[in-house]
Symmetry: none
Subunit: 195 residues, 4 copies
DNA sequence: AATGAATGAGATTTCATTCAT
DNA sequence: CATGAATGAAATCTCATTCAT
């Protein structure tokens, strides 16, 4: 949990945050549909109605989560988009490096997305994210890239997104794993760059 | 739809099949939780109770789907596992090629898996599939493979699984796309093989 | 209650009817919003879910009630509309007489309407009824009737609609009261006819 | 809106009034049950808790509305009651005329009553109003009036109460309509007087 | 091989109300 | 004079499931 309060006896004003934390945790684990507001409320020690004081609907909780946690990643993509095009290999490498770092901080969010793809499609934010991805791909690929290179790029990004969870039962330090994924992704982009 | 009957005037005995078809279609699109038996029954023009004549529970429908559609893939993996180890590059290539073909025939199933990962975890069959994957990875990698090569291999397989859906809004003929994915996957395995 | 069954130990197939009966009774007494499905279900000795087997929504119960009980009145109005126009006084009198009879049989429905006017406005059927009234008024009035005569006519119809409930605490036999209302209404229409 | 303040820049002390205004408006339109305190508060730009500073309960808002707006009408009825009995026709006419004027000023209140009859029954004030009506009827009718004349009288009063809303979709100037209703009512009372 | 009728559990959501500040 | 935060109760509705026929 992120919101550590030094005075545990009585928290005030952080209920909204705590709802988001618990919701993210539960939904990432069980999926959106299977996570009920009752469950969230119970774990927080409040009533269901309290959730509705802070959020208009169940969906609203998720949307707020998304906006909050996606912000740094959106910023990064915006920065990447602004780099001169066609970008030199060095820039592409930096984009990937930074992206990897940003992802590892938003890991729970991406676990959530991974496990709730059906939901994402209806959550409006899904489209938004797809557009961002297109921007990122456009920056990492020459415009006339072959289909194979396009697949390389998509595969690289996709592996970074899903990597952390898929590698859960591979032994090894998480940071090492992250660097390994980054290396593979960088390789793929490098190959696509040469052609 | 796959289940074409030669005598269209009166279907008999194919209800089980039709339930599976509709269930797969709906669940792949909307997710397991969001797809209700009412919806499946309505689309088939039967009552919910009819579903219970053919399957014991909702979960049972999914499990049956899985067993049926996963069979060819399981066979393939069994065959791969039986190849002498360490496998030469040529064998690995063949495994990938055959795997790609098998996957493209079970595409809806993999879409289903992709979009219902939370469910898969509770469906027992999830574990089963994970074990199979381990077997496949073991056959495609040297035993002392570096973490990076391990990531390459996992990334290759993962890309093949998810590829079809992720590439949905990339233009191009599906078969061409499949071959492009196969090429990238083969590349990754080849690199891992050399080291 | 209308649906008297001779074998009280086990009713079958009449649940839909019984839901309508109880709903009408309760809603007429307490209003639409204040009557909960729980209450209806409890009084019937079934679960709330059973109501949803027979009707799609709470509103649907009311709409069905309406369609069923309004049918004879609609028929009557249709008949009235088909009479040659301008109608002679005798015809107008007959319309009123028949209308009074029809109303007294649909009394609970009109109590319902009287007490749930806010609801009626959203129930679509409200509009329908208003149109019918216009037809009836058109048949009872000369086309160039003065505003005062128009008010006479509306007042007559309105008194017939509301009469039964408003006269609840006037002593006297219900049938006598009905005839008194009919007489006043006929008077009003007669005056409007003369002018 | 009635509550015009001469200093528009800053309202003070008129919140109570504004709550009543908004509540009357909304409840007349949607009904008591369907109008929530949230809605009232939102439209006023205050919180629900603020309503509870000014009124003890939701019902209290309605009761206060009633007391305030009903006062002139109660006064009028009291005056009518004090007239010598049996009243001459001229007096009855004056009562009706004044009543019509009083009603047209309390129009929203009567719309409210019209549309919330179920509620009125539980609001204690309902009984109160019924008693007043009895007083009024007693003054307008000979004591030994026939049932028919009794109906005439009730019909007259009822038409005045409901008239404004029922005539909503009849074309014409509101004041003209009011006079037409008054004329019809006076006619009815005059007939009852003669017998 | 399937239906009609029903259930029990639980979901999301809304409401009037309270109270410390 | 009013708010921010919360509650308890209840509402409508949906779902997987059962069972006699």
């Amino acid at each position: 949990m992120v919101t550590g309060s030094s005075k545990p006896q009585q928290r005030r004003g952080d209920t909204r945050q705590r709802i988001q934390d618990v919701a993210l945790e539960l939904i990432a684990e069980q999926g959106y549909e299977k996570t009920s507001l009752r469950e969230i409320a119970e774990r927080l020690g409040v009533t269901k109605a309290a959730l509705y004081y802070h959020f208009k609907t169940k969906e609203d909780i998720v949307v707020s989560l998304f906006s909050d946690l996606m912000a740094p990643i959106n910023e990064l993509i915006t920065w990447a988009k602004e780099q001169p095009r066609p970008a030199p290999l060095e820039t592409k490498r930096e984009i990937l490096t930074r992206y990897s770092e940003a992802l590892s901080e938003a890991a729970p969010l991406f676990r959530f997305m991974q496990e709730n793809q059906a939901q994402m499609r209806e959550l409006s934010i899904g489209e938004n994210f797809k557009d961002r991805m297109h921007d990122l791909i456009a920056q990492l690929l020459p415009e006339d890239a072959s289909l194979t290179d396009r697949v390389r790029c998509i595969s690289a990004l996709f592996s970074m997104h899903a990597g952390m969870f898929v590698l859960k039962d591979v032994e090894g330090d998480p940071e090492e794993k992250r660097l390994a994924i980054l290396e593979v992704a960088t390789d793929l982009i490098t190959q696509a760059h040469k052609h």
